[in-house]
Subunit: 305 residues, 3 copies
């Protein structure tokens, strides 16, 4: 199975058949992981270029590459390096493409991924460009929903927390737009409601959505996607303190519920640790799912699927 | 050969049969090294998490893993990364355990290793938690003594330098407590004598020990374990300058002696470079021994010994 | 094919038969790259020690090692690490040689590479020691000239830009001194002319050279080697601004010319991006050539050629 593109920079380039193909190959990759890995990408090198640190995403990609027998060259925090000093992103990517067979890049500027993909001599994957896109996170979220719920069409998904600035809930909403009969519930303080670009997308796609401010409205969804509320978004500190506790999910909330709890991590106080032991708590499985999803993208973009 | 534990956080969890088993497997690992490595851990991934830099220890573990055909994902200086930002050690370890088959962690806080081991979904090795434990250093010291002296029971071991704050001499003393008829000599300036926790341990175990302040008292031991005296321990700078030269071991000290000279490195002035060429100088062999000892721990904790 | 030395610290240790051998093996390595790599160095470990960042050089060496099936342990920015704290370069290298089979080092101090090589227990390659030597860059430059021009003897090579401080143009001049009938043209502002050590070398070797200040004098050479003019070299900022545009190579300069354009990268403004699409633009191929040249050195110094 291939993909109709060479570079993955945005969820917006994905069709339903693309996500079906990626999730299908990711499932195959789980089979490979259970067997202890493979040599499918032996001899291939991934260049892992992180202009800003994102240890979780970097280690996930590097693990995925190594599980397939491939190798990794890493530049982390390269804003300090001579590679970057005065050199354009374009030149850096062309250079990295002389050393590696595929490139993953994290960069703080929106649009940097598209600039990189435009010149990359080898397949390129965006691992986050500032507040812009982070498509592999959205795909692993989607894969987790499918694994936990055995389907995606027809699900009720509640998103909670900082919906205004949260890159992951925007990308996931766009991807869910590829599926049928999705119902979304957006739960946030009024300062942090879902932006118009997402709500208008929902209207356009005919996705039912409701907005609320109380956490309880989310509990009966099939999936509850928690995000962190960041202190720096508030001018009134006491308001932040109040909301922080309002938006803390506890095991008591989930009594008798099968709601699947997800979170892009890191979590601070928004999910109490007493939730961790519940079968509903899917957020560490979600992290784990990043590996087969990224393995799928690596093999597909390298034409080895 | 297995070990009766999944995680190694402290020398205190080791019995004599554990150290015998580890040193035995380490010897097998030297055989593997001589044959150019093996594929015993092919398909396995080590997560090397260094919250504070310790390049020597990190490279030693990473070399050990690669000599066995395994792969490594590294986060170095991750105090600056988003992985760490506000996230508990527990969550970080659970996440790393989704990407890797075994975790090695260095962390500046005492007790962090126990917290990590308590939740780690995969085998965990403490590579130093602040002034606390650094069990693999103590094991490679023990292995070096056995290799150099062909035995451990009955040896006279002198420890020299900063015995108060030196983590390595404490851990080594505790491990030597597992052996018979050990005689220890503790040589330090009065500001830096061996702490009560070690001397009372010796009394309890019936280990003969003497305390002295002159380097010459150490020369006739079977093993002389040098450590660095750190300037910042002294309020009186001239006193430091005086002691620095008093505790500098020179080849002249060792004329006609077979005393095995060890040091955890890095050394500054406490061993003159004219000692390096003597057959007694074991400190670079000691560094080398870190690789088979860590290989042994990796294969044993992964159930491949 | 072997080399008559164990460590490569300087271009000055290379004879014509050495460069012939290295370029020959580099060509074989390109064959290996086309076949997807090899396992020639399986089981071998490269220690990649970068005391100052040089991401390009580091990634090139690490890619080279992995293309040959070898592994890499990396210490980047180790000026901050305990490995370096107060420890001599000599001790650091002896330690690294206990973990690895070959060492590559970048260090900010001239002469550090010779100090390292003097004690290294394993083959050692200098990846740049301050303003001193960077022999693998000079070798990849030479390899690129040979590939692009099908020969080296008899060529006209123009060097442009900062000839005074540019390490690469000095090293390349020295290497070209091993070849016959070379004609050099040195083009720079008067502040940045080629230093006497290079011009006197040319006289001694009977290499014809001319000096000029206008870029046009370079256009008809077989090879035009551009370098960056650094702002900090000028006391008069307006003079820098004037020269910056004088020394910008544009596609218009190259109309109807077959001059091979090289650059050690990173480039800033000295080559306009409209040159990139010309067949003459060899600078990204030059980057790529770093991999087979470094593969050649790794296999030769490890006795596997």
């Amino acid at each position: 199975m291939g993909l109709p593109f060479t570079h993955l920079t945005s969820t917006k380039q994905l069709s339903r058949s693309d996500t079906d193909a990626i999730l299908g190959v990711a499932k195959d990759m789980e089979g490979i992981l259970k067997k202890g890995g493979s040599d499918l990408l032996k001899g291939k090198i991934l260049a892992s270029l992180f202009y800003e640190p994102s240890t979780r995403t970097r280690l996930s990609f590097e693990s995925a590459m190594q599980r397939l027998g491939g190798d990794v060259i890493t530049a982390d925090g390269i804003q300090f390096s001579s590679l970057y000093k005065g050199e354009s992103i374009e030149d850096t990517i062309i250079v990295a493409g002389q050393y590696a067979d595929i490139i993953v890049m994290r960069h703080p500027e929106t649009g940097s991924a598209d600039r990189a993909a435009a010149v990359s001599p080898v397949p390129f994957i965006n691992a986050g460009d500032g507040p812009g896109q982070h498509p592999t996170q959205a795909l692993l979220d989607l894969y987790t929903i499918q694994k936990e719920c055995k389907k995606i069409d027809g699900l009720k998904v509640a998103m909670v927390g900082d919906l205004r600035y949260g890159r992951t809930v925007h990308s996931l909403s766009f991807l869910l737009g590829l599926y049928k009969n999705i119902e979304l519930t957006f739960i946030s303080p009024k300062e942090l409601t879902m932006p118009e670009k997402v709500t208008s997308f929902c209207k356009e796609k005919g996705i039912t959505f409701t907005e609320a401010s109380n956490l309880e409205a989310a509990i009966s969804a099939d999936v509850l996607y928690m995000t962190r509320i960041q202190e720096e978004r508030f001018t009134d500190h006491s308001e932040y303190e109040r909301l922080k506790s309002v938006y803390t999910l506890r095991s008591a909330h989930l009594k008798g519920k099968k709601t699947v709890i997800m979170h892009p991590l890191p979590r601070v106080t928004e999910i109490a640790t007493d939730v961790d032991a519940l079968p509903n708590a899917a957020y560490f499985r979600q992290v784990r799912n990043g590996v087969p999803v990224r393995m799928a993208l690596l093999v597909m973009l390298l034409g080895k699927a």
